[in-house]
């Protein structure tokens, strides 16, 4: 095996005390960046990029990619503890992670999240190690029609989520689409719904909406019930990690499915956010405990976290082999590579073997280091919930305000956050589901863009979505999921009809 020897060479490059120290620092910085909403992985890496110019490129990319792993790990922490996703791909983690924390199982949720992240990343690194050339070719097959099909599949996997009124689901989702459409239309360059207000030019940022809807909304609901914050009854169990690990083994099927979804989304590159949503949606559909999703089901934490981290890691493959970033953070890393004089693309694996294999080796090491760091902190993180709400409440509000501000350096976004907070509170109380709303805000404009690019290419003909086996398969899968409620009802009738006929 040629790869194995190359990888061993890579470990020799990555395993120096200097590089290990950088890994450790990178992971810690990344966790901090992931925890602070608004200061996402992309910003964090971009901010620290100039610091790395005086380092050797391999060390620099090791540190920066470790910041990236750290941010992926860290995004889950605030999602679970305070219902505030630090990163877009942690939104789906809040759905079950936060209810778990409210039930006093924060340590379990955190352990599940971190471990799943690790499993997802490890799976993706194995894929990068052994299948890079094959997989890179797969990414080339994705044009606009295929991208639209992927987004369609993500939405379809979310249909039937939540048990509220279907019209409330519809209202929430269409509200998300409307909000997502505000700003510059990327296909024709015309302005939509800005009405001359320059603040609206960049549209509603997904993170501002999420910080408001989830974070502020949660604080308002907690206040309504008095100065309580769920989870205060959490006891600190030092063995939580091991007891949770035992439970995780049961859900190997969910993990594997999420790994596959994540890798696929990372490579194409659809990104970690659709991966986490799609994985959550499918886990809910296929799990025997599907009805409990949203109430604190551990599977609802495993699925999005595994997929998000697998996607985040796999996204580095198209970045290295094709020069297309699979995520905003990868985009910044890509810029970094160019500044160090490394040209990402098909030739990188040939011309810069040491660098590439050093990086891949550091992915293994970085994730192991990261897992150890975050797992040892689980009791510490869980203990934060024991701080009384009268102290943590205002601090969360301040952190939310800073997060909303740093996204675009704009006060307008901070005001917007409060408005979204009010909506989040009302929505929750009146049974409007939030997941379809955020899904539509984050993916709505991307789906529309892909659809219109495809239409431009096909001169307005819808047949493009069934024009080759790949796109046709994804679209058909999407259709099946979309009509799943009807299909499963039919299935039930077919299978239960004979016995009833006999009696």
């Amino acid at each position: 095996m040629e790869e194995i020897s190359a990888l061993i060479g890579g470990f020799k490059v990555a395993l120096s005390w200097y590089n290990l120290a950088l890994m450790f620092i990178g992971i810690l910085l990344g966790v901090i960046i992931g925890v602070l909403p608004g200061l996402g992985g992309a910003n964090g890496v971009a901010i620290l990029l100039p610091l790395t110019f005086s380092m050797p490129p391999t060390s620099a990319i090791i540190m920066l990619s470790c910041i990236y792993w750290g941010a992926l790990f860290g995004g889950a922490i605030t999602s679970i503890l305070f219902n505030i996703p630090g990163e877009p791909w942690s939104v789906a983690t809040t759905f079950d992670g936060h209810p778990m924390a409210q039930n006093g199982r924060a340590d379990e949720a955190l352990t599940a999240a971190f471990t799943s992240s690790f499993v997802g990343a490890f799976f993706a690194v194995l894929l990068i190690t052994f299948l890079a050339p094959v997989v890179a070719k797969f990414a080339l097959k994705f044009g606009p029609a295929e991208f639209f099909a992927v987004f369609f599949l993500t939405f379809a996997s979310f249909v039937g989520m939540g048990k509220g009124s279907p019209f409330k689901v519809l209202a929430a989702m269409t509200l998300g689409f409307v909000l997502g459409a505000v700003g510059l239309d990327k296909v024709t360059g015309s302005l939509r719904m800005t009405f001359g207000h320059t603040e609206l030019l960049s549209g509603f940022d997904f993170l501002v909406a999420v910080i408001g809807l989830f974070g502020i909304g949660e604080i308002l609901s907690s206040m309504e019930g008095g100065l309580k914050f769920g989870g205060a009854k959490a006891t600190i169990r030092l063995d939580a990690v091991f007891t949770t690990w035992k439970k995780l083994l049961k859900y190997w099927a969910t993990s594997l499915r999420s790994c596959l979804i994540g890798c696929w989304m990372g490579i194409t590159p659809g990104g970690a956010t659709p991966a986490s949503f799609m994985s959550y949606g499918l886990a809910k559909k296929f799990s025997p405990n599907g009805d409990n999703f949203g109430k604190g089901e551990i599977e609802g934490v495993i699925a999005p976290e595994t997929a998000a981290h697998a996607a985040g890691t796999a996204a580095l493959l198209p970045m290295l082999t094709l020069g297309i970033p699979g995520s905003p953070t990868a985009a910044v890393l890509l810029g970094g590579l160019m500044i160090w004089g490394l040209q990402p693309g098909p030739m990188l694996f040939v011309e810069q073997k040491d660098f590439v294999w050093g990086l891949i080796a550091s992915m293994y090491l970085g994730n192991v280091v990261g897992l150890i760091v975050v797992l040892t902190c689980v009791p510490l993180f869980a203990a934060i919930l024991r701080v009384p709400f009268s102290i943590i409440g205002p601090v969360i509000l301040v952190v939310c305000a800073i997060g909303a501000y740093t996204i675009h350096n704009s006060m307008f976004d901070v005001w917007l956050m409060l408005v979204f907070g009010l909506f989040g509170y009302l929505f929750q109380k009146l049974g409007y589901p939030l997941p379809p709303l955020v899904l539509a805000i984050v993916l709505g404009d991307k789906a529309e863009e892909a659809f219109r690019q495809a239409m431009l290419g096909s001169q307005g003909s819808m047949t493009i979505f069934w024009s080759n086996p790949l796109v046709a398969t994804i679209m058909t899968l999407g259709m099946i999921l979309l009509f799943w409620p009807i299909i499963s009802a039919l299935k039930e009738r077919v299978f239960s009809a004979p016995p009833t006929a006999k009696t």
């Binding site: 200061l39 019209f167 601090v395 305000a401 800073i402 501000y405 929505f427 009146l430």
Partner: protein
């Protein structure tokens, strides 16, 4: 329609679910209407190379208005419509955090209300005051504790953002006086 409902026995109740359903549905319908209005202006048809810029907002806006209309009627007809949405003490507690939050955000950047212009305090000072006052008046924590937490959080934030990550946050007169702005 407004909060003046007739249920005598439910003294502390402030608003019923039905009322809030109507209010929220109306707001969503308004948002949908804005989307429709704008897409009509920029064109919402299907051109020979695919949908026009307003195509998606138009249909999405229409769906939003339609589904909100249904939600509105269901909200009135549902059995839970007369149940309490929020009681007076509950609402008081929500306002107790909402109003300080609004004042806090206003204090960060200041306000520009035409003739009245209030300069902002910057995020650090505003946060310190907000955390301390919140802890004292709403959280009923001790004054010393409140001041300590109130100073500690902004200081950590300051060093983390301004010095470490080089992310400038809004600053006010204090930072200017210290030569940090």
């Amino acid at each position: 329609m407004m909060s003046g409902h007739t249920e005598e026995d439910d003294g502390p109740s402030l608003v019923t679910n039905g009322t809030m359903e109507i209010v929220l549905a109306a707001v969503l319908m308004l948002i949908g209407a804005i989307a429709i209005y704008d897409s009509v202006n920029i064109g919402f048809g299907w051109r020979d190379d695919g949908p026009a810029p307003g195509f998606f907002p138009f249909w999405v806006g229409l769906t939003l208005v339609g589904s909100s209309l249904i939600n509105l009627f269901q909200g009135i007809r549902k059995s839970s419509a007369r149940e309490t949405f929020v009681t007076k003490p509950q609402f008081g507690r929500v306002l107790a955090v909402l109003i300080p939050s609004i004042l806090y955000v206003a204090a960060i950047g200041g306000l520009n209300l035409g003739p009245i212009q209030i300069p902002g305090l910057g995020i650090y000072l505003a946060s310190a005051i907000f955390i301390a006052l919140f802890m004292i008046f709403i959280g009923k924590e001790s004054v010393i504790k409140a001041i300590l937490v109130g100073c500690f959080v902004p200081l950590v934030t300051f060093f983390m953002f301004e010095k470490w990550f080089l992310v400038p946050l809004p600053k006010g007169p204090i930072e200017a006086a210290l030569g940090l702005a």
